[in-house]
């Protein structure tokens, strides 16, 4: 078993954070995991993406040409990555920031108005967690409990007060996508 998720967007959209939540969740399930960022010289505002590979055996390549799932947080990421999703895989589109539809028909396309949903929870910074909740509800790469523990671990450094609301956001993303 191996699955790969690419999360792409602008710096500041919580792209690397989502990957880390998944990596922690995989660790809790005693799986092998690799989190690999694209790293650039800009400190702020550049594009950011990371690849999370989860497997039950020794992981070879930390990045693959055709990942099982790709999350695009903005339009440039959709344009860059849509064609790369493995057939039958998942393309998660943050429709709050993307003004076009996917063109592929051989993959699962999940459209999430993440910012609007986050605002319903009172904090638009929760958009990324909502996306993760939605993706995992469909792709089921990880157990929901593991992801919640992953959130807990990722927010453990002085951000504990954000934990409950992030858990709610994860649930909200999952609930939203099941009604679509």
């Amino acid at each position: 078993m191996q699955n790969e998720t690419v999360i792409a967007g602008f710096g500041g959209q919580g792209v690397l954070f989502l990957g880390k939540v998944m990596a922690y969740a995989a660790l809790f399930e005693d799986l092998k995991v690799t989190w690999f960022p694209s790293y650039g010289p800009e400190m702020r505002g550049g594009t950011a993406n990371c690849t999370v590979v989860i497997s039950d055996e020794e992981i070879g390549s930390p990045q693959v040409k055709n990942p099982k799932a790709i999350v695009v947080m903005n339009r440039p990421s959709l344009d860059k990555y849509e064609h790369m999703v493995a057939p039958g895989g998942y393309l998660v589109i943050n429709t709050s920031m993307v003004n076009r539809k996917a063109t592929r028909t051989d993959i699962h396309v999940l459209e999430i108005p993440s910012v609007e949903l986050a605002e319903e929870l009172g904090d638009k910074r929760l958009a990324n967690t909502i996306i993760l909740g939605a993706l995992n509800e469909k792709a089921k790469f990880l157990k929901k409990e593991s992801l919640l523990k992953g959130l807990e671990e990722s927010l453990s450094h002085g951000k504990k007060d954000l934990l409950e609301i992030n858990k709610k956001a994860m649930e909200k993303g999952a609930a939203y996508i099941t009604t679509q």
Binding site: I59, S61, Q63
Partner: protein, 372 residues
């Protein structure tokens, strides 16, 4: 100790701390800076020496000074910084004081890119600094291996009074993986016999690399080579995958090795009898393992993130006995497993023997991939 998530650069820094690191000197350079940052907090917390030097020249010579006292000492840098350290490394090799360098390799030449590469193979494995010397060079392919190798290489460096280098592709420095940290070792109390400590008269010690009498210099040179024979005898490391019945052997180290593993698995699933040899010690190089593989397989495919630097070492032992092929990506580009798989499939479907150097054949094939 349970597995925890570690970023490669921070993981090897902590591993060094646990190996009993007494002093660290470094200079910021992407993609290794997290190690410097990590140790800037961690070392003082333990009452150990940390200093951000004025340059890589400063850093390596601070390491040199500290190493002369017998302290466990390390620096880390990335390719352009490694170039600057070459002078110091040559002096340190000549003085035979142990130290550890972690080179988090990025694409070059020049300022190059900050993306991962294996372009420092030649400057680390085949010298770089002036004169006849060798470093012990290990190449990890995962964060856990980086941890284990850094933890171990201090012992190797001290055993042989040699330079220990971890050639860490930028990939491994920047990635996060689960790793288990080794236990914290006590700081070594005893001072090695050769180390300076303040002494006069018959206790006076001079650690120098100057030997103006050529006969004396030759004695040192010969002794260094003799010592290296011991290293070659004792410290060769490599790992193999699916080699038992392989007819094609892929050879790759570090990141290229692990990417090749993905390709080899897929090829195996397609019924191609292919295996993988991943050299772990690049110096000393696992010549014998390559030689034995060459006797077993019909083709050897060398995969690197450079233009075939290790390829030359492989070819040195394979000679004409087996067909050798090469595939590389450069400048900060990592190959996808699919690219290596295509190479394996191309080879498996039958290649005609050629007198043209594998690098030249690869370069020709690259013309259809990249416009250059």
């Amino acid at each position: 100790m349970a597995r925890e998530l570690w970023k490669g650069n921070e993981a090897f820094a902590e591993a060094a701390v646990r190996a009993g690191l007494q002093a660290y000197f470094g200079y910021p350079i992407t993609p290794q800076t997290e190690a410097l940052e990590y140790l800037s907090a961690r070392m003082p917390e333990l009452g150990r020496a940390f200093l951000q030097a004025e340059s890589e020249l400063g850093a390596i010579n601070m390491v040199y000074g500290a190493a002369c006292t017998g302290a466990r000492v390390m620096t880390s840098t990335s390719s352009p910084g490694t170039s600057l350290m070459m002078e110091g490394l040559s002096y340190i090799a000549a003085t035979e004081v142990p130290m550890v360098l972690v080179d988090v390799v990025r694409g070059g030449p020049g300022l190059g890119t900050i993306q991962p590469s294996q372009g420092d193979y030649n400057q680390i494995v085949h010298g770089g600094g002036h004169g006849d010397y060798h470093c012990i060079v290990l190449a990890p392919s995962t964060v856990q291996e980086a941890v284990d190798q850094v933890y171990e290489i201090f012992d190797l460096a001290e055993k042989y009074r040699s330079i220990g280098v971890i050639l860490l592709d930028g990939t491994i420095g920047q990635m996060i993986e689960p790793a288990e940290m080794p236990p914290m070792r006590e700081i070594r109390k005893e001072i090695p016999e050769w180390a300076v400590r303040g002494g006069t008269g018959s206790n006076k010690r001079v650690l120098t690399s100057v030997h103006l009498v050529p006969e004396d210099m030759e004695v040192l040179d010969l002794r260094l080579i003799k010592k290296w024979q011991e290293v070659e005898k004792n410290e060769v490391r490599f790992t193999e995958y699916y080699m038992d019945d392989a007819k094609i052997a892929v050879v790759g180290f570090g990141t290229a090795g692990r990417i090749a593993l993905s390709a080899v698995r897929t090829a195996r699933a397609l019924g191609i009898p292919v295996g993988l040899i991943r050299p772990i010690s690049l110096s000393p190089f696992p010549y014998q393992a390559i030689k034995e593989a060459a006797a077993q397989v019909d083709h050897i495919l060398v995969v690197e993130m450079n233009s075939g630097m290790m390829l030359e070492d492989v070819m040195k032992v394979v000679k004409d006995s087996t067909n050798v092929e090469f595939y590389g990506r450069m400048g900060g580009i990592m190959p996808f497993p699919d690219e290596i798989l295509s190479e394996i499939q191309r080879i498996a479907s039958g290649t005609t023997p050629s007198d043209i150097h594998p690098r030249d054949r690869w370069l020709k094939r690259m013309e259809s991939v990249v416009d250059f």
